[in-house]
């Protein structure tokens, strides 16, 4: 991943051709930009997020040139592009791969353009830019189509279905009833996708604790503190007590509830964590 590239080297006079460029940084329009950059570095990250890929960026650069400076020197587009890549590499490495491929393609096109061509060569076939032009054109069409689709009235955003039901319906409709197998297979699929579950701690954690956590929260939902002892049902036996205890600990860890004790003599009470209990870091996995 070297940011040094042939194209970078040959653009010392880039600033001289500065278009009257507009960029928005934190809502403010910039008309004047640093001499050495088209976009200030800290704005670039934000700026780049508005591009959907190398084609999008290239299209933008070309359109820009087109509007403002048709007489730009040859290497300009490639040069600018390379400059973006360089910055991207420092700021958002994970973005760079596809952009680099495009950069390579541009460099290749450029170099082929510089080579003398046989006089009798088939114009179309031999034009190294033809493929790129077509891709850019094709891409631009869909960019526009995407805007059309975005502007369609959408259910949930602009369109609200009217709904009403009868108060009661005599014969209860048969609702679908998946079996456990369906449920677990679905879970298996999520697991295959999300490594979030990989945590050993979670793996060992008995399910009944999770279930109990929900119960305890429900119990406390009246917002009134409950004595810790009241949460425990001794009829559940040893294991039940342990489960309940673990559930309470988990909830405290997750900053969902708070345990209080007025003094060492008084009983422990448990209440929902209030908005006042600021949590710096959610006890996330």
């Amino acid at each position: 991943m070297t940011s040094e590239s042939p194209a970078n080297a040959e653009q010392p006079d880039e600033a001289a051709n500065q278009p009257d460029w507009l960029a928005k940084v934190a809502g403010e329009t910039l008309t004047e930009l640093p001499k050495d950059l088209y976009i200030p570095p800290d704005a670039l990250e934000v700026f780049l997020e508005t591009f959907e890929g190398p084609l999008d960026l290239l299209l933008y650069l070309i359109r820009r040139q087109n509007l403002d400076i048709l007489d730009i020197p040859v290497a300009q587009i490639t040069g600018q592009y390379m400059q973006y890549i360089g910055l991207m590499q420092t700021l958002r490495l994970e973005l760079a791969a596809e952009y680099l491929v495009m950069a390579a393609m541009l460099a290749e096109i450029k170099s082929r353009m510089l080579l003398p061509r046989p006089v009798d060569a088939d114009e179309e076939e031999d034009d190294p830019r033809a493929g790129l032009v077509r891709r850019l054109q094709e891409y631009e069409r869909f960019k526009e189509a995407a805007e059309t689709i975005e502007s369609r009235p959408r259910v949930g955003r602009d369109v609200f279905p009217a709904s009403a039901r009868p108060d009661r319906v005599e014969s209860a409709a048969a609702l679908p009833q998946p079996d456990l197998r369906d449920l677990l297979l679905a879970l298996n699929e999520v697991l295959a996708r999300a490594e979030l579950f990989a945590s050993h701690e979670i793996a060992r954690e008995p399910l009944s604790v999770r279930e109990r956590m929900s119960r305890v929260l429900e119990r406390l939902s009246g917002r009134k503190p409950v004595s810790f002892i009241a949460l425990i049902d001794t009829a559940e036996g040893r294991l039940g007590v342990v489960v309940c205890f673990l559930a309470v600990l988990e909830l405290v860890k997750g900053a969902l509830i708070a345990i209080e004790q007025a003094d060492s003599e008084s009983p422990l009470t448990v209440r929902l964590a209030g908005p006042t209990d600021t949590v710096m870091e959610q006890g996330d996995d």
């Binding site: 009403a164 009868p166 409709a173 048969a174 699929e189 999520v190 979670i202 999770r210 209030g274």
Partner: protein
């Protein structure tokens, strides 16, 4: 579909009873819960009409639906437009018509709630990597398999979801304990074994064709 252009963030204040009535109608139709007077008023923000005007609009609305299949009723939580009982038989036939299958998305969501409860929507989305559709949560709530068990005390106070007794009943479980632990779920063979243990009679014959 005509005058969208003139609408922006701040909707116009309806000027007469009928127009206010229609706004209320729109709100009641779009909401799946009854709406209280306060809730209705809140929609108008600073330009809220008088309470009395709102009441009159409700009267207008009630009268206006004389000849439609809906009626306006006041229930505990406020006002609701509902289908007249007269038409319930047809509706019940519509609902009976096909017990659909639940989507994979719904089952995945349910499974995550089962294993990670209490959990917020955001956390479910994070695990699944997809935004959670409103419909899925609503279906799970309506089915009584899931309910809100509290709120996480972070900005926005997102609701925490957990499973219910009803869930256990409907899936013939005595307790969640009966479900295989996660490591087994991750291992497809172990999962199948666990499943067979759960219901040896039922699963025996369908053991071959679980993938769809």
């Amino acid at each position: 579909m005509t005058d969208v252009a003139e609408q922006n963030d701040q909707p116009l204040v309806p000027t007469n009873e009928a127009e206010l009535g229609r706004v209320v109608e729109a709100l009641l139709l779009a909401s799946d819960q009854p709406l209280s007077l306060d809730r209705l008023l809140a929609v108008f923000g600073d330009d809220a009409p008088q309470r009395s005007a709102l009441r009159e609009a409700l009267v207008w609305l009630d009268k206006h639906h004389d000849e439609s299949a809906m009626e306006l009723v006041e229930v505990g939580n406020g006002w609701r437009l509902q289908v007249r009982q007269h038409y319930a038989p047809w509706v019940s036939r519509l609902w009976q018509e096909k017990p659909q299958k639940y989507s994979r998305a719904l089952l995945e969501t349910l499974a995550i709630i089962v294993y990670r409860q209490p959990i917020t929507r955001g956390e479910i989305e994070e695990i699944r990597g997809v935004s959670l559709s409103q419909t899925i949560v609503r279906t799970l709530l309506e089915r009584g398999w899931v309910r809100e068990v509290g709120h996480r005390e972070v900005p926005g106070r997102p609701a925490l979801l957990g499973t219910t007794k009803q869930f256990l009943d409907d899936f013939s479980l005595k307790s969640l304990e009966q479900l295989p632990p996660l490591p087994e779920v991750k291992d497809l063979d172990a999962l199948h074994q666990a499943l067979e243990q759960l219901a040896p009679e039922a699963e025996a014959e369908s053991a071959g064709d679980e993938e769809e």
